[in-house]
């Protein structure tokens, strides 16, 4: 690839990425009333999206080999339980991450 082609490639990636981020704001500008259906999605989507993101993080886990995803699942369960008990974001994250880091070292 010439350096010109490389610049074009980066520009295309940048443009398309910002397009995916801006599209909803362009289609439903702040000045105009947002359709009821989109307002409803705005309320119902976030919780679904956070669920999607958690599963998304597990996309590369190999369930049938190695550690069978046990460190990941244990880490997530630890976050959930800690959060149910204390409801402190940082504490939940720290406990889950620490457990994960211990497990991937111990289980090798």
């Amino acid at each position: 690839m010439t350096s010109q082609q490389q610049i074009i490639t980066i520009a295309i990636l940048a443009l398309m990425t910002v397009l995916t981020r801006a599209l909803p704001f362009l289609i439903f500008p702040a000045g105009k009333p947002t359709p009821k259906y989109i307002q409803y999605l705005g309320k119902a989507l976030p919780l679904a999206v956070f669920g999607m993101l958690v599963v998304y993080c597990l996309k590369d886990v190999k369930w049938l080999e190695g550690m069978h995803g046990i460190p990941e699942i244990a880490g997530i369960v630890a976050v959930v339980l800690t959060h149910l008990l204390r409801r402190q974001l940082f504490l939940s994250m720290a406990v889950g991450t620490a457990l994960y880091m211990v497990l991937i070292r111990v289980m090798v």
């Binding site: 690839m1 082609q5 074009i8 490639t9 980066i10 295309i12 990636l13 940048a14 398309m16 990425t17 910002v18 397009l19 995916t20 981020r21 801006a22 599209l23 909803p24 704001f25 702040a30 259906y37 989109i38 307002q39 409803y40 999605l41 705005g42 309320k43 119902a44 989507l45 976030p46 919780l47 679904a48 999206v49 956070f50 669920g51 999607m52 993101l53 958690v54 599963v55 998304y56 993080c57 597990l58 996309k59 590369d60 460190p71 990941e72 880490g75 976050v79 959060h83 409801r87 974001l89 940082f90 939940s92 994250m93 720290a94 889950g96 991450t97 994960y100 880091m101 991937i104 070292r105």
Partner: protein, 236 residues
């Protein structure tokens, strides 16, 4: 110190604290990205300009591969759209939150990454300045992480293997936070269920868009049942 300076400092403090998990996650991922770019033999301008202008981890990792391969603008465009499609959901969720942000709005939209969306969405009582600062801080973490990885990656001697799990932990914790705040829990099960099924059926490369379609279909099909739960909080 006058009032506006004091409130600026205070906002920065709040935003910094909120963005700490992103700092950890972005430095870890950014360093990985910088190390990879360096090992592929790119001059520093390539990873830097991608971090500055694309600002999306998944698109940038793909970008490194594309730059090393033959010129194919159409593939680049479609890949970026596929990988970025999930941002559409963040935008729809943020339509209300980012209303009335004035001059801050363009950057808030540019910086709507997975992590920044999660942090800014979860902070319901956040002020416009705090949201902007979280976005700017996250952006700076991503850029500095890539820089460190590129420059000093080969010198890193700490065993930080596994620290990347902090991103999963953050999404899980925020998921729980939202789950406990909301009265209506069914969208959570729809999100988890559709994504898990799509991942199983389509594999890790192609599952995001089918998962999004599934979520949209389910939320649309159950609108009559779900919508009343949100009626109370519409008026502001």
């Amino acid at each position: 110190m006058n009032n506006s300076q004091a409130s600026f400092k205070n906002s920065l403090k709040v935003a910094f604290k909120r963005s700490l998990p992103v700092l950890t996650g972005y430095w870890f991922l950014g360093i990985t990205y910088g190390v990879l770019a360096e090992s592929m033999g790119f001059s520093y301008w390539y990873p830097l300009s991608m971090a500055l202008f694309i600002y999306s981890g998944s698109a940038e990792f793909l970008g490194l591969g594309m730059l090393a391969a033959g010129f194919n603008p159409l593939a680049a465009a479609s890949m970026a759209l596929v990988v970025g499609a999930r941002h559409l959901f963040y935008g729809i969720s943020m339509l209300d939150r980012y209303r009335g942000m004035g001059w801050r709005k363009p950057f808030l939209i540019f910086g709507l990454t997975d992590e920044t969306f999660a942090v800014n969405y979860n902070a319901r009582e956040s002020t416009p300045t705090e949201m902007l600062m979280v976005s700017l801080l996250d952006y700076s973490y991503w850029i500095t992480g890539g820089f460190m990885g590129y420059m000093f990656g080969s010198l890193l001697k700490f065993d930080i293997h596994g620290l990347e799990f902090v991103v999963t932990a953050m999404f899980t914790a925020i998921f729980m936070d939202q789950f406990l705040k909301e009265k209506e829990h069914r969208p959570a099960w729809i999100g988890i269920g559709c994504t898990a099924v799509a991942l199983f059926l389509f594999g890790s490369q192609y599952f995001v868009i089918p998962a999004m379609v599934g979520i949209l279909l389910m939320l649309t099909a159950f609108r009559k049942k779900l919508e009343p739960s949100y009626m109370g909080e519409v008026q502001k």
